[in-house]
């Protein structure tokens, strides 16, 4: 009875059923690949254990050395170089993620602002490098120093063309660690990306020349080569733009399939790469421009979560691919079969590529500086020359050569490996000290400032207006026309309607600033060990929502949990904290904080499994978004105005009293709200959540009354007010407008899971603006007007109530 319907091995040995069989051959290939990736990733961890090493030695260099080491082990083990970087793997799987990442996160304005310079370096510079290196090597060869080589002029030119191109992978890997100023970076990096078309054409042209033989090369062939350059580069770009358009259009309609949304970005971009490859156009250009062109629309269209997914996946794949490339460059070098040593040839190649790079850069910069507004100084030129790193593209191209056509293939391969190692290891190692020594202007990372953005926008308009008035067609004129065109047509087609509304740079910065504020509040709150931030309105909540769960934030969940539990100790602690904050003293704060954390964070983590469900079920409600957005802004305004109005201290104290009172009331949780009984809440928690909101708005009403003069004796009225003023609470326009509250409430917020808030870490991540975050805040946002006691302790920032009355005479 061994009718096992299992694996073929079992059926081939029907006499005995193997319970466990070892099937190495079955899994071999993917297994080895996965192991290599694991090794490379582990190596990265190890490198970064020592901060000292990674600060001095670029990771790419370390990986190459590791590769050499591992290659040595493999070689010692079975004496075959079974693992090598093959061109197919490199061009099909490793290169595209890196280039896509580069394109998708390209700072567009900077890139297009310097496009002229980049193109000059990429096209003329690469041709210059290829020609001079190839010709010089050939010239030296004719003198006989290199001995006899089985190759002619065309072989040398072929070699020159593949060794000429600056490599995007190597440049990125090294320059990312150096942090030179952005103009310099974009020029070197842009050059390395765009020179691909030149490299591909030169390589193909010379390869075909070598194939047909030097005697058959005619002028017509040369002209063909030049034409093919334009076809390859422009064609590649067009393919990229076409797929960018497609991708943007698709992303417009993914509202109901949020889960696979990020997939489109990768699939369609990769398709652009493959299509260009299929048409033998420049694939790198295609995928670069696909990323560059689609980024604006895609980022606007896809949801916040998808955007984060795309960002991290892309970075992960790019950095993984880069790791593997460098490691395998090292491993591939351990193969005695490919090594052919020719000292003169190798040394001269190194000398020529360095020297001609310098000469090329200096010449081109000299020309460019006649036209550039921001001049490229000598120091910049040094860095640019020195940053001309060669990398895996050259290696993959040289491996692709056919040994039957190019007789000296092995010499070329060895030389390329040496050149790559030299530039990546030696130049990569020394470029940092060089940059420091030359005092190259570095990037200063600045917080985005709202004023800066506003002025920047004003600038664009002013400058284009001045160009209009003076009747010139300049950069600003063109940009102005483009942005008009974009706004009028492209965005209309490619962006979701909701995205069109909110997609404005200034809004983004505003949003980001709000988030930053919020983050710093939370950080401050955590630092002080106080939980006040939990009840702070508006912006603070956004942090959590934005980053975290698609569902309500930590804040909400914590509060609601707090309420649900009605646990004495927690509330008492909160009260204690309130008291303490008045006289700022932190002695017990840590303890209190600890207690609170225990009570607040732990339970949530038990419900992780529920969390990803809801995000898709949500549909957007623009009206609400808008309302909430305004509220955030209003909050800023309020605090601003309060600074202006300067309300005195006694009121502050009153507020604290009141807060305490509110606190107590919440503790006991007995005060019935006017509306709640009639609400028929779906769930038990709903009631409590609302209870909170009501009580908060009550407080505000209290405060308003207070404001109007009840002042001192308000404590006497406290209880009465609590019962009487609920209707005013309901008057809150947002609150009554929120009819779909109960729907929202079906997903009990505290069930959402989220790690403990770690603001400092999150603050590093840039948070693009996405409107759908706002709505999730809705219930809590109702408490907008409540007094944030944490702010209170901080001083002048906080004076919410004053907003409505004064708004008109500002």
């Amino acid at each position: 009875g061994q009718r096992s319907s299992g694996s073929p091995i079992n059926s081939s040995h029907p006499q005995s059923f193997a319970i466990v069989s070892f099937e190495w051959d079955h899994v071999k290939d993917p297994y080895i690949i996965t192991l290599w990736i694991l090794v490379a990733s582990l190596a990265k961890i190890v490198f970064h254990l020592s901060h000292k090493v990674t600060r001095v030695v670029p990771e790419s260099a370390l990986l190459i050395v590791l590769g050499l080491f591992l290659g040595g082990i493999v070689w010692a083990a079975d004496h075959i170089a079974s693992f090598a970087l093959t061109p197919t793997v490199f061009f099909f799987y490793l290169l595209p993620p890196i280039v896509l990442d580069a394109g998708y996160f390209m700072p567009n304005r900077l890139f297009f602002g310097n496009l002229g310079s980049i193109l000059l370096y990429a096209v003329i510079g690469t041709v210059w490098n290829a020609a001079t290196t190839g010709l010089s090597l050939y010239g030296v060869y004719r003198t006989g120093i290199m001995g006899h080589l089985n190759s002619g002029l065309l072989d040398f030119l072929l070699f020159g063309s593949l060794i000429a191109a600056v490599d995007p992978v190597a440049v990125l890997a090294v320059f990312e660690e150096v942090h030179v100023n952005e103009v310099l970076f974009i020029i070197v990096f842009g050059e390395s990306l765009l020179n691909d078309a030149v490299t591909v054409v030169l390589y193909n042209v010379f390869e075909s020349f070598v194939t047909i033989g030097p005697e058959n090369v005619t002028g017509v062939e040369c002209v063909k080569g030049i034409v093919s350059f334009f076809v390859v580069s422009l064609g590649g770009t067009l393919v990229g733009i076409f797929f960018a358009f497609l991708l943007s259009l698709v992303s417009r309609f993914t509202k109901h399939v949020r889960i696979i949304e990020p997939g489109f970005v990768f699939i369609i971009s990769y398709l652009s790469y493959l299509t260009a490859e299929m048409l033998s156009l420049s694939a790198i250009l295609a995928i670069t421009f696909c990323g560059i062109c689609c980024q604006k629309y895609v980022k606007a269209n896809i949801s916040e979560q998808s955007s984060t997914t795309v960002r991290y996946t892309m970075k992960m794949m790019a950095s993984g691919a880069e790791t593997i490339i460098f490691m395998f460059l090292g491993i591939s070098a351990v193969n005695p079969e490919i090594w052919t040593w020719n000292t003169a040839f190798i040394l001269l190649t190194l000398v020529f590529i360095s020297v001609y790079r310098v000469i090329g850069v200096v010449l081109q910069t000299w020309i460019l500086n006649h036209y550039r507004m921001v001049q490229l100084e000598i120091i910049d030129q040094v860095v640019m020359s020195y940053g001309g790193l060669r990398g895996a593209v050259a290696f993959a191209l040289v491996v692709l050569l056919d040994v039957n056509k190019v007789k000296e293939k092995n010499l070329f391969v060895s030389t390329t490996i040496i050149v790559v190692f030299f530039t990546v290891i030696f130049q990569g190692l020394t470029i940092k000290p060089l940059v420091q020594w030359l005092k190259v202007k570095k990037t200063e990372h600045r917080e985005p400032k709202l004023n800066e953005k506003l002025h920047g926008r004003a600038f664009d308009h002013i400058l284009s207006a001045i160009e209009d008035i003076s009747g010139q067609i300049g950069h600003n004129y063109l940009r102005d026309k483009w942005s008009n065109f974009d706004r009028k047509f492209l965005s209309k087609v490619l962006m979701r309607r909701s995205a069109q509304k909110s997609r404005d740079q200034i809004l983004n910065v505003f949003h980001e600033l709000n988030l930053k504020d919020a983050i710093s509040y939370v950080a401050e709150g955590e630092r002080r060990g106080s939980l006040a931030f939990i009840r702070s309105p508006s912006t603070d909540n956004m942090v959590n929502v934005d980053f975290s769960t698609p569902r309500p934030s930590t804040v909400e969940s914590s509060v609601s949990y707090l309420l649900r539990e009605k646990a004495g100790p927690v509330c008492l602690d909160m009260q204690a904290l309130e008291q303490r904050r008045k006289s700022i003293r932190d002695t017990e704060d840590t303890v209190a904080h600890h207690t609170l954390q225990q009570y607040l964070y732990k339970p949530r983590q038990e419900h992780k499994h529920l969390y990803s469900r809801h995000e898709i079920m949500h549909s957007e409600d623009d009206k609400q978004d808008k309302e909430i957005f305004h509220r955030t802004m209003r909050k800023r305004l309020e605090s601003f105005k309060s600074t202006k109005l300067g309300i005195n201290h006694s009121k502050k104290l009153n507020k604290i009293h009141k807060r305490d009172r509110g606190q107590k009331r919440r503790n006991s949780n007995v005060i019935p709200n006017g509306k709640i009984p009639s609400e028929n809440p779906v769930q038990d928690f709903t009631l409590k959540e609302k209870d909170l909101e009501f009580s908060e708005s009550e407080e505000n009403n209290d405060y308003e009354t207070l404001h109007l003069g009840k002042g001192v004796d308000f404590l006497a009225n406290v209880t009465k007010q609590n019962f009487t003023d609920t209707p005013t609470g309901i008057d809150n326009p947002v609150f009554s407008a929120d009819d779909d509250q109960s729907i929202y409430m079906k997903f009990s917020p505290w069930l959402s899971s989220e790690d403990t808030v770690v603001p400092s870490q999150r603050a590093r991540v840039q948070i693009p603006y996405s409107p759908n975050n706002f709505r999730r805040l809705t219930p809590f946002r109702l408490s907008n007007k409540s007094i944030d006691s944490f702010l209170l302790a901080d001083g002048p920032e906080d004076r919410p109530r004053s907003f409505l009355p004064e708004a008109t005479h500002m």
Binding site: N369, H370, Y371, R372, M373, V374, Q375, E444, K449, L450, N451, L454, H455, G456, R457, A458, F459, H461, I462, L463, A465, I466, E467, D468, I469, S470, G471, Q472, G474, H475, N476, Y477, D480, R487, Q500, K501, S502, D504, I506, L507, F510, L513, K626, H630, T632, M633, R634, R636, L637, F640, T643, K644, G646, I647, N648, H649, K652, G795, P796, M810
Partner: protein, 217 residues
């Protein structure tokens, strides 16, 4: 000939810092042609003349920009108010605010150069000439700036202006006491806000070079 006429690119030729320092005769000629075109061969330009520039129509802050041409504070030092019409010299003065940075400027000149540009900008925001950009003024500017986006409402623009104003207050005054009132951005504050942003490389128009580059060939 060519090199001497290309200000940004030529080897530094010591130019006296008188009016308008870097605008070469070629540029002046070009601007004069344009001036005459705008003024329809009159000696002065009035506000209405700017209406004839079709590209300006879509500029959301076109009013402010045109206004700046007639703002006497921009035209002459120590004067205030609004001119009804400007002559070519005034036109040139305004244009020279947008000239690019020069290679041979020393620190002090650079500083003055920078201040000049910022002053121009400041005057554009400070529409009531009281030396302060008040919240209301700022709001107006932001509203105009964002008016290009039809989906954005006035209230959003206002809130953004408020946020920006708050930011300005926090930069310029720092932590304010509860009784303190921030009335508006003064020019000193304005300078503070611009610290670290190299306006001199931003606020220039290529045209002041382009014309001559055409002659460089």
């Amino acid at each position: 000939l060519g090199a001497a006429l290309c200000p940004g690119s030529s080897p530094p030729s010591p130019s006296p810092l008188c009016f308008p320092p870097t605008v070469t005769s070629e540029q002046i000629e070009h601007l004069h042609r344009r001036f005459k075109q705008l003024s329809r061969d009159q000696l002065t330009i009035r506000k209405e003349n700017f209406d004839s520039i079709p590209d300006l129509e879509f500029n959301p802050i076109r009013g402010k920009i045109v206004h700046a041409f007639f703002d006497k504070r921009n035209l002459r030092q120590e004067s205030d108010g609004l001119a009804d019409e400007i002559n070519f010299e005034d036109f040139l003065t305004i244009m020279s605010y947008f000239r690019p940075i020069e290679m041979n400027m020393d620190e002090e000149q650079l500083d003055r150069f920078r201040k000049e540009k910022l002053k121009f900008l400041f005057h554009m925001y400070d529409s009531d000439h009281d030396g302060k950009i008040t919240l209301q003024e700022y709001r107006n500017v932001v509203e105009e700036l964002l008016s290009g986006n039809p989906h954005l409402e006035k209230e959003s623009a206002r809130s953004i202006a408020d946020g920006a104003m708050m930011e300005a207050a926090s930069i310029c005054v720092g932590q304010m006491g509860p009784d303190q009132v921030y009335e508006g951005i003064t020019f000193e504050d304005f300078l503070k806000m611009w610290q670290g942003i190299d306006i001199e490389t931003k606020m220039h128009v290529r045209f002041l070079n382009m014309e001559t580059i055409a002659h460089c060939y």
